[in-house]
Symmetry: C2
Subunit: 161 residues, 2 copies
């Protein structure tokens, strides 16, 4: 164990790994959806899981690039997917690469800096990234309920390689 | 900003505050449930929200006390609530005090220690605490779907004082 690790409870590398572990699980939740219901199934007036995923995809890559580049970015929760699960998965994998490339560019000394996410949501770099992760857990869990209501067994929550 | 904060991306105090912010939101989700449906409403063969809360309450206080005391603890996801929302809320508030009292006793140098949560789940102190928080976000989000399916507007996800 390095001295650095003893002095901090989580390193930037661990935070990225933690998020990518969650993203790997979310990817498997997407895969578990029947293709049609991914875009159409809803409960209680909520959005389809595909619509929630467009929010997550609109936030993650652009949100981290915004933190790195410091250029206020417009939140865009839509992209052309043609009701194809493969299009969502391709965008998911592209975002995985964006996070791997950009997260390491955020210096340790920046995590307590005050920022405005997407040009408007006030917080620190840390609170913003935690929000992005928590928001993914939140919507993925709603996907779990959608899957259960469709009679599909979701992947185990604790299984995050 | 202290030198300490510049060298670590999140402090133990911030991690506790982050969790308590989530727990405050979960408390408001509990309050939003109609009392009967808190114990009876289910979707897709899942548990009632009260049953999920018993899991969260079985984990949080005892799990953090186990980390502090180092004494393997049996996971207990049940307590007598008599189908009363007030009993769940009282246990929730009791757990808030347990976390405030015990979390600060976990030294910075312990977060990367390997432990077995509830005597069996392998991880580090950090990964275990993150799991406890993430698991709460996960089940609370399922409570959101339950509320929506009951026609009840849940509290805003981003509102975590």
């Amino acid at each position: 164990m390095t001295a650095e690790k003893i002095n901090e409870i989580i390193t930037p590398e661990e935070l990225l790994k933690h998020w990518q572990g969650h993203r790997n699980l979310t990817r498997r939740v997407i895969e578990a959806f029947p293709e049609k219901e991914l875009f159409t199934h809803r409960i209680g007036g909520m959005r389809s899981f595909a619509d929630m995923l467009m929010e997550l995809l609109g936030i993650a890559g652009p949100g981290i690039m915004e933190i790195v580049n410091g250029v206020p970015t417009q939140l865009n929760e839509h992209f052309e997917h043609g009701n194809q699960k493969s299009a969502i998965l391709a965008k998911w994998d592209e975002t995985t690469e964006v996070l791997d490339a950009y997260m390491p560019q955020i210096g340790r000394d920046r995590y307590h800096d005050k920022i405005k996410a997407f040009g408007q949501y006030e917080g620190t770099v840390l609170s913003t990234i935690l929000y992005y992760i928590d928001n993914e857990i939140h919507h993925r869990a709603q996907g779990y309920v959608y899957l259960r209501s469709l009679g599909v067994e979701p992947p185990a929550f604790w299984d995050r390689p």
